[in-house]
Symmetry: C2
Subunit: 384 residues, 2 copies
């Protein structure tokens, strides 16, 4: 880690990702065995002697391992959760050793559709198997082994990341002291699956998709991926939040009676869609939405969430946001209720926010105060 | 009108549409002048001698003039609002003369993108101008003239149809006794515009779209139109409604770890999308979504809805549905509040329903009871 003059002092600074190769075959939920794979990750802070201060950050649908700091001294944009992770920040890197890894099946460095399949010497592309939240947890457990972390002080994440934190608490009760589940749900609603299905079809219908072999044709299904992202963005924000930000504002101040951008919201969506195409792989996007749809840990426990959680020994912090309609507060409360029924230690905060599902990424004072105070508690307890 | 043995006795029976040609040029909001045009419509019931019992039904985005009865004796499916219109039904055709016309720009018979443009002798296609709710009201007023209807007992509709009823009350205060505005809004929210924009882009990005000249290429942008409809369907229903109907039910009872239909909701959406492609024109769909976006009658009155309504002399019935998140009850209440502020006669009902925006099409007892009782009142008052 080096610091450049332009980088804020409460930043973890310039961080280079690390890569680990795993040769122990990993049997996935779908039945496919990955004979070998790589995981790319970043770390912030220092692992203490007792190895008791490690925090695992799990990313959401389109996130990656670059959660905090800068990739280079002249980098203008820090990692996606930089407001939360750093010296003196809610997840204080003066205290905690933070590990942030890229999920298998992603497109940012860990093994996924863009990786060369050793069996064929060509990229996996659409043949990369659909991985589940359980698979990710298993791969992260092996990463923990390699990093010498027997037990996480906390595993945390928002949205799909929160599902991983929950799955950790279920699958590895002895290896996680605290599970921090933010803007997540114990399973997707029908409406959520429906939105994912439209996003998938948008990609798969794109004539450039070529059954997922688009790179062999020198193209990417950019229109489909754009549509998927535009739709996603609407559901990550709230109606009120969109209204506050864009209202019915017109780009040219008048109607043009045509199909170019007229309302500012249209311009915003197109911009978000376009910029996503440049940074995300369509096959990865498809399989990540499937991981979301499939997540339902209670399905293995007679659809009884309380029973599902009965073996957990982690303490829980659950956070939802009032205007999040994609993963609504009611879903978080369903989890909280089951945890209480299972006699687990759970703290819950429903944060007042107009920003919808995206709130979990934002520096909302009440939200960060909850995180800060909870991490203070973890620190105090670990010191006992 | 003839009756076949298989047609229920409370049906208006077999109804054939009528067509009228208009030669007085119509100057549209966009500035384009339609030199001539046709309107297709159906009527149910009989116009009384005083011509005081006429009700105009305005259709929504994908509706048409075939609101009630059957197109042929062996037709299995009646019109889209058949549960509401007929002898003894809430809009009782023993009492009222009901007129249901197809909007300009549609694809069911009135002049629109599929019509031959007399200036070029080829179909308008994408050159058909974007029409607005005001344009529709103007064209409907001319239809009323031709039918000898000086003043409607009521103008009514749901969704985009409700917007037309509202615009009627504003534009023709002397020609409408009652405006029945159901599941509508005085203007679209940012989120609504955003959903419409994604639907439009899905169509326009389809490689078969050819800038709207798809029929010249012997194709239709079916994938785009399918996506638009799938997305629309999600927003017409509520999360709870979808959950009650489909939950997380799997078609094959297990995950297949692939991209064919797995969840029943996926099957439903694909079916809805496919069946829409066969019955709707993409250029019509595009311009109808624009009419929705543009609707904002208060924009001409300093964005003051109360002022906008001050010249209305109609009495109003406003209806919303508790689970309608596309045109939420709060939007209906905004209209009701402005009507009260403008000292207008308004009745308002927020109907408890799990079916979302689609509720306005359904036979919900409390909803139909409100309509029935309101139409009884119209009848009593007209008899004075």
């Amino acid at each position: 880690m080096t610091m450049s003059p332009s980088i804020p002092t409460d930043s973890v600074g310039v961080v280079l990702p690390e890569n680990l190769h795993f040769e122990e075959p990993l049997k996935l939920d779908c039945g496919v065995v990955l004979d070998e794979y790589d995981l790319i990750f970043e770390t912030y802070g220092t692992l203490n002697e007792q190895r008791s201060n490690a925090v695992l950050i799990c990313h959401a649908l389109s996130g990656d391992h670059h959660a905090a700091g800068y990739s280079a001294a002249d980098d203008v944009k820090p990692g996606w959760w930089d407001n939360c992770i750093g010296p003196g920040k809610p997840i204080d890197t003066n205290i905690y050793y933070v590990v942030s890894s890229n999920n298998l099946g992603g497109c940012a460095g860990s093994t996924g559709p863009l990786t060369i399949n050793p069996a064929t010497d060509t990229p996996y592309g659409p043949d990369f198997p659909i991985v589940t939240v359980r698979d990710w947890v298993e791969s992260q457990a092996r990463l923990a082994d390699r990093l010498g972390i027997e037990r996480w002080a906390a595993v945390m994440g928002g949205s799909l990341g929160g599902m991983q934190a929950l799955q950790w608490a279920i699958d590895y009760p002895d290896r996680i002291a605290h599970a921090i589940v933010i803007a997540a749900t114990p399973k997707l609603s029908t409406q959520n699956i429906a939105f994912n299905e439209v996003a998938r079809q948008a990609i798969r219908y794109d004539t450039s998709f070529h059954d997922g072999h688009y790179r062999d044709h020198g193209v990417v299904p950019e229109r489909g991926l754009m549509l998927a992202r535009m739709l996603g963005h609407i559901t990550y924000l709230s109606d009120d939040g969109l209204h506050a930000k864009f209202g019915r504002e017109l780009r040219d101040g008048k109607f043009n009676f045509g199909y170019d951008v007229e309302f500012q919201i249209e311009s915003y969506l197109r911009h978000q869609g376009l910029s996503f195409v440049g940074r995300f792989d369509a096959n990865s996007y498809l399989l990540m939405t499937k991981s979301l749809d499939y997540f339902d840990p209670a399905a293995r426990f007679d659809n009884d969430l309380t029973k599902t959680l009965s073996n957990c020994s982690a303490q829980f912090l659950v956070i939802s946001f009032t205007s999040d309609w994609r993963f609504a507060p009611a879903k978080s409360r369903e989890l909280v209720r089951a945890l209480l029924d299972a006699n687990k230690d759970v703290s819950y905060a429903n944060i007042d926010s107009e920003q919808g599902h995206d709130s979990f990424l934002l520096e909302i004072p009440a939200y960060h105060a909850v995180l800060r105070s909870y991490f203070d508690r973890i620190h105090r307890e670990s010191g006992k």
